[in-house]
Symmetry: C2
DNA sequence: GCAAAAGTGTTCACATTACACCCATGG
DNA sequence: CCATGGGTGTAATGTGAACACTTTTGC
């Protein structure tokens, strides 16, 4: 929630030409999450913008005049990662007066969930780099705010919708799934209870295959069954704050 | 979640002057919720825009060049309802190419929770009217989308944060509180379980006063104790979808 | 007295939690 | 053989859901 930031006089009586309004640019910024080596990561790019040169920033771009905002986000993802059909969710729009040195630029933040392995090869641009989320302390512009807002949204989301599977390969072990939840939520979970929970949900299909590249007893590989999953689920209606 | 809406060629190779970008206007639209006579209501205004003249629309306005987006929302609320310190939450930004006849206008949707009784007197403008949420079937522009998106967000929100008290007078009966939850969630709740729930949360203070204008046995009046309420609450971390 | 809502406890089903041992594999 | 994680079950606790009768007030 936001409370009124400051008292301002009602300036409704001062007419302003309509043309003065159409001087805003809009951009989108994407927080692209990945999961690798048990760590939640974010794809960042070296900023080539004067005031912030050398700092890392989120991937973003201005929205073209003939372009929908969602389209712009997909374009950025496609251009930067080579990935096409990815999970994308709009989170918040940031419009502080001085957030951008070039003028009034409003940005709409999205987050995206991608499978890092899938596009490792496409990531040849050495201006791009995956950073562990926990180690990101400072970014260009107001991107640190944007990052934290998107992360908070992701934390809520994974509890209510099966979006985490976008971060995993199609076949995954239960340990991978659990450590992904732990990485996103920042907590440790009980292994037996976690397994019980997911099995009784009934959305995991045993592929019959096993891990084969681990230095310990291999686990079974599962697949998320999108067909069995339906949003009809009876979420208990509990008021809880 | 949004999936890529349509395949588009990568037009990154077509240079566009930076000036072409700064031709967008931004607006804010507010879904102002109130609660009256057991019914969830929304404040609407008669649209005076050509293409939609005579239809109802949300309260909105262009964001001024020197104005923060949140400020713009508070300005609209102040101008239209006379209310100042209200609950306001940003929800989503709508930016379809042809959503506004005048050109590229991106709008950011907010919802607001107000106590109808508090400003009944300030509402003299007869272009403004409180509509029962359930009876709103058609609005100007894409405002029906905006309304539904904000309503869905409100439904989620009331389960996790004590925002409903913004819709009630400072002193309220448990029946009022319950019927408000029922109106927002669209379900019937068990009275005894509801009372138990709220009392054991410990955030309701007995004012010692009773209702005095009801045609039946009066109930006690309570106040929400913001001091006792802290976000430290131990929400059970349950994955549930 | 009648209508309408206030106020009040218990039971059942289910979900979350905590917890310990043996097994399979790689090195 | 050792380290690492895979795989498994049960008991206790807590929460949500269902449910009925008496009391108080206005009319």
């Amino acid at each position: 929630m936001t409370r009124r930031p400051s008292a301002r006089p009602n300036i409704n009586t001062t007419p302003i030409s309509i043309d003065n309004y159409f001087k805003v640019a809009i951009s989108v910024d994407c927080v692209i999450f990945g999961f690798d080596e048990g760590v939640l990561k974010v794809l960042l790019i070296k900023c080539n913008f004067n005031e912030f040169r050398g700092q890392w920033s989120l991937l973003g771009d201005l929205v073209r005049p003939d372009e929908d905002m969602d389209e712009a986000s997909y374009r950025i993802l496609r251009e930067r990662t080579g990935l096409d059909d990815v999970y994308l969710e709009q989170v918040h729009t940031f419009g502080s007066l001085n957030r951008h040195p070039s003028g009034r630029v409003i940005t709409t933040a999205y987050y995206s969930l991608v499978n890092i392995q899938h596009h490792k090869l496409a990531l040849s641009d050495n201006e791009l780099h995956w950073h562990p989320f926990d180690e990101i302390k400072c970014l260009a512009f107001d991107h640190m705010d944007i990052l934290n807002t998107c992360y908070a949204r992701l934390q809520q989301k994974v509890l209510r919708e099966p979006v985490v599977f976008n971060l995993l390969p199609p076949k995954f072990s239960l340990r991978e799934l659990q450590s992904l939840y732990e990485a996103i939520l920042g907590v440790e979970l009980d292994r037996r209870n976690f397994r019980k929970k997911f099995f009784q949900m009934g959305f995991l299909t045993d592929t019959g295959q096993m891990e084969d590249d681990v230095p310990h007893r291999p686990g079974k590989l599962y697949r998320f069954n999108y067909k069995k999953y339906t949003k009809q689920s009876k979420k208990p209606l509990d008021i809880n704050f």
